[in-house]
Symmetry: C2
Subunit: 385 residues, 2 copies
């Protein structure tokens, strides 16, 4: 049962996945609804755009030509944030040690990919059926599997996945030679999230270092396991399923919730219901169930304000190179961070107080979940071609 007091008072909630707090101010929504009501957006994009560097057959900025791909297509980002080869870096040493303490740096190598979801320029995950999203998940799985380190505890699972999932030659990539530590699969969708090309795509950044967020989550999950003998996200998914007020949707494999500790107004967490450590652990059936979950989230998002809902999303799973213990600690999940608050044009800004002091939200996760539960059903718009 939801707590009626928390619906009414300012309070902080604790995020056990990252070990940090956020401020919730539910009464801020009691003020008159000043946000505009927007007319439903129309999809006026063409199926193929000759100017788009992601459409099949087109030429990219540095001269490469895209194949006439029919499903997904993967390539190395022409402006990667990390590269495979670069100069060696030797940290400077100083007499008194202050610089070594306060000017710390580490070299980072790796490779960045771009992966299109569909040859069709004008669709989004919300427009695609679960069966059409499945190839995306298959491509993610094959890429993750092919980048696992030789001694990885999930290596056998990876080989199994590579043997059982049909290869899509346009989706495949050969891993770089140097060992990678981590793979971040993420999507920036919509101009509000810094995306300049509507052609449906995600990015995959692989790095020689374990980034901050997954490192924090792994540490918190390991601590929880050590202290309670159970998995944090296992306990959490069961608790949420039993309480139901933050549940948006679920199937046999996945639970979709607005987490207790959500920062973004309609933030969503997709949690595997059993102990899936990474994409390669998913069965054929679970991959389809995951596709359904992604479809449900993105369609509900679009239905909420009848607009193509912007968000950043990403998958957290076992690192590409890790110990048995890290692999066992990992629990497959996907975050969705959407900025919209009140309508298609009124967003939440995480600025002054949020940057300087603490994240702050204006509606409760329970209110957000109730709204997302109620906007299932067909996508509000139809694709004309």
């Amino acid at each position: 049962m939801a707590d009626p007091v928390l619906d009414d008072i300012s309070h902080r909630r604790y995020n056990p996945l990252t070990g940090s707090w956020l401020l919730v101010s539910p009464h801020r929504t009691k003020r008159p609804w000043q946000g505009q009501q927007e007319a439903p957006s129309k999809n006026v994009l063409p199926v193929y755009d000759p100017q788009c560097y992601l459409c099949p057959g087109n030429t990219r900025a540095q001269g490469d030509r895209n194949p006439q791909y029919e499903s997904t297509f993967t390539f190395v980002n022409d402006y990667s944030a990390v590269k495979e080869q670069q100069q060696e870096y030797q940290p400077q040493t100083d007499k008194d040690g202050v610089a070594s303490l306060l000017l710390q740096a580490q070299a980072v190598t790796g490779r960045c990919y771009v992966l299109t979801f569909s040859p069709k320029h004008h669709v989004t995950l919300a427009d695609m059926a679960a069966a059409e999203i499945l190839p995306v998940i298959q491509t993610w799985t094959r890429i993750y599997a092919s980048h696992l380190s030789a001694a990885h505890p999930l290596k056998a699972q990876g080989e199994k996945a590579l043997a059982s999932i049909p290869a899509n030659p346009d989706g495949e990539v050969d891993p770089p030679r140097g060992q990678l530590r981590y793979m971040q699969i993420f999507e920036n969708k919509g101009a509000a999230m810094g995306c300049s090309n509507p052609h449906p795509h995600c990015q995959i950044w692989t790095t020689s270092t374990l980034p901050e967020e997954p490192a924090k989550e792994l540490a918190q999950m390991a601590k929880y396991r050590a202290e309670n003998g159970r998995h944090l996200l296992d306990d959490y998914a069961k608790l949420e399923a039993a309480r139901s007020e933050r549940v948006v949707w679920q199937n046999d494999g996945f639970l979709v919730v607005c987490p207790w500790w959500a920062i973004w107004p309609f933030e969503v967490l997709v949690i595997a219901k059993r102990h899936v450590r990474a994409l390669v652990d998913l069965t054929d059936e679970e991959r389809l169930q995951f596709a359904e979950a992604v479809q449900e989230v993105t369609r509900r998002y679009d239905n909420l304000f009848e607009t193509s809902f912007p968000y950043s999303s990403g998958i957290h799973q076992a690192p590409l190179d890790c110990t048995e213990q890290e692999a066992e600690t990992s629990w497959f999940h996907m975050h969705f961070y959407p900025p919209l608050l009140r309508s298609a044009t009124v967003r939440k800004f995480l600025v002054g107080f949020e940057l300087l002091a603490e994240p702050q939200r204006d509606i409760t996760p329970e209110q957000a979940a109730a709204r997302l539960r109620s906007c299932g059903g067909e996508l509000y718009r139809k694709l004309l071609n």
Copy 2:
């Protein structure tokens, strides 16, 4: 001396103030400059706007009328994120303890203020002379002093400040009765930072809890002091002053740097050169030096892309209620987080990889500091009235 290798390779840098890492990808700026070059923005705002809820003499949303103030003006936010009084909250208990672990909440009370910097609707800190910014700092100081807890280690300093700084009746506020733990002074400037009213103003949120960021910083500074017997920001300011490649500007009281660990493209840190624990420690002379530092930062920002530069800024100092040890650990500083990257209209988005994995920046702090050093001099635009 700057490290030429770091100018060229992808690397991570460590932020000792928060204990976290960020990814730096300098070669991303080697790509052709695709950002537009904007025409200098013009200031077309009136000195007084009858529609502005912050202008002197105007009526605010809930019916209160602003006084005919002549310098700063402070009032309780009509839509505060925290309130002084609210229902009691009793955390729910559960048999197996999972909910108490995973659904943690704390009540938060407090009070939020809005503080205008000037009666003039059309100015910004960049347009104001240091002598005009001084009253803002005086108001901040008096408000901070009047909200200190009765047993605060800086109480005597606070009384001294209240006795020596002339009161501005429109800037003053009586503190609420309940004890507050922390005061966050911050400014959101520009539409890009969620600010909808250009009338120059900041906010002051006081809370019964210590927010995440200052809590992290205090913990990190305490750890550094315990391990090294010196203050982190003292060591850091001296190191930066000696190396100079990240220094933007300085006077006798304050050092302005693009910190080693800056996340935002032109992020700036203003550090007190001696051990100032909070606003109330500043001498008359230092308050003016601080006003000069704020003026230098904001004017250089505007000159950089010849636009009214958006940012969020805020002061970190000793909590309103704290132990002797927390007060002694505190080291007065001010953060500026501006989003622009390449021009008046091309900003950096901290989205997908940044939210899911780790903050990432495209130019080095050394490059940013060099550009900010070179755009001192007069403000590029003139106020016409």
